[in-house]
Symmetry: C2
Subunit: 329 residues, 2 copies
Amino acid sequence: MGKFSERKVIAEIAGRQRTGAADLIKGIGDDCAVIRKSPGCVELWTTDTLVEGVHFDLSWHAPELLGRKAVNVNFSDIGAMGGKPRFILLSLGLTQAVEKAWLDAFMQGFLTVLEQYDVILTGGDTVSSGERIMISVTVCGEMDERHVCFRSQAQPDDRIWVTGTLGDAAGGLMLCQKGMFPAEKYNRLCQAHLDPKPPVALGSKLAKSGLIHAMMDLSDGLATDLAHICKASRVGAEIAGQDVPLSGELQSAARSLHFDPLKLALEGGEDYQLVFTAPPQNSQMLVELCSRENIEIICLGRIIDGDGVVLCRNGQRREIGFCGYEHTF
Amino acid sequence: MGKFSERKVIAEIAGRQRTGAADLIKGIGDDCAVIRKSPGCVELWTTDTLVEGVHFDLSWHAPELLGRKAVNVNFSDIGAMGGKPRFILLSLGLTQAVEKAWLDAFMQGFLTVLEQYDVILTGGDTVSSGERIMISVTVCGEMDERHVCFRSQAQPDDRIWVTGTLGDAAGGLMLCQKGMFPAEKYNRLCQAHLDPKPPVALGSKLAKSGLIHAMMDLSDGLATDLAHICKASRVGAEIAGQDVPLSGELQSAARSLHFDPLKLALEGGEDYQLVFTAPPQNSQMLVELCSRENIEIICLGRIIDGDGVVLCRNGQRREIGFCGYEHTF
């Protein structure tokens, strides 16, 4: 058969699924499912799976960092709704090649992040998984119902913000794949891939502030993730190419290795930064709020009437929606 | 390194994990985690992963039945605490070999069981998983806090009950592996492996009845699962070999294929029946309660002071605790 894509699979499953339950506020189609827990309080649910050779490579991914990443990519989804992670489940598929020391280090990393966030491992499953290690994590978060930030709340004239430089993780992955790790010069890029640190607490503060409209985390690249916001909010987006934040390291690596850093920033994926939209009159307050958390946010575009994501660069306009990373089968 | 077992991995992880949170009633160590949702009401969480070539074989497992099984093995854990499943998350690892028709049939089976139990798919993840299909399911259930049945509540002199014949699924798997499927004569055995139907509603009724002490589901074989109850309850168990319920089909297959049906019944795993303990004076009421649900329960032993699981057979006593199926790595 022809290949079919992750997005089509999910859309089809969502379409065949009934959605009615009094306490289900949001099912498939956002960073997390949102379920009413008690009056005024909701639970957030998310799950993410990492597969050896697809999402990580043991030849450069230290087990402790992999354990940290397996947690952080899920916490990123909780933070992107504005919530706080509370409980976690771990399904671990191990291979015959796994050594006790590897597993200890993996769990050390995993549990360190739980401690940092005061989150409890409540259960899981351990199985043999054949040739590839498989890590499937489910997280339950919690928050005030009034503050939940959905993808669907972007409005025309909103400014589009991100919480850090983009493309670093994709650049780091490229360096690892080229055998250039460890590379002191490009350490920031490799670390962005190996040990992402999503701004979970900031997500919660932004949601509570009432200053923003839509929010989500950047996991598949800005081009794709912003397209999700646009589709869910029935709006379009314009990105100013020169405003996309690129780190010095990414630009330096791009010059040495002859790649386009902007392409990586837009399509690379795994940034685990937040992208959010907010009315222009809130810009100054947002910059100040984030600055108090030592995070510099960057405005790189605006929401418009219409649909799709347009990149404006050197006087040209190009549709880039859904150009990011996607699994195909 | 030497092999290390699933049980050791879980015990070690549980030991390194802090457990304190006001609303966490039970973490690692039962069929489900139990978290207080609102006054008097708890949530139950469980997760189970199936890996191609480890837990299922596509050459005899039809996709629709596999989809059903991926749900049912998780619902079994919810029922074993006495709860009702409410929400489900699906992480699906697909290979290049997966056809659209296969995926459609798998999802058809998956969603059919959700409909039967009025459960909603709230999210998930779809990834490439290399050589093997990987299905990781997380379920959230709900119930009255007063009625939760833990493994740790067995008491000396309790009778030990199961909700159906044992070893059928293990027998069915053996037949499939020997290329004897489809085998009309042994259809019951193959179906027990391919399409288990755990008594989830009965679990809930038993819990509400107040007639029972400990309960869990039989997934790793009676010898292992009962040993979990004994360890958690700090008691021992005696099983009467002649009272272990064996189906006519299993006994017939055992005669033809020269295996010991009792061994399969004790160690085979994947029965997805319930095992529970109850004071002897409740026996008649329990038989009647289950009979009203058209389920014949069988008493096959009793809880004693001490520890371990002893099989009494032909005048001999043999320790069989933790002899069931276990993943090793």
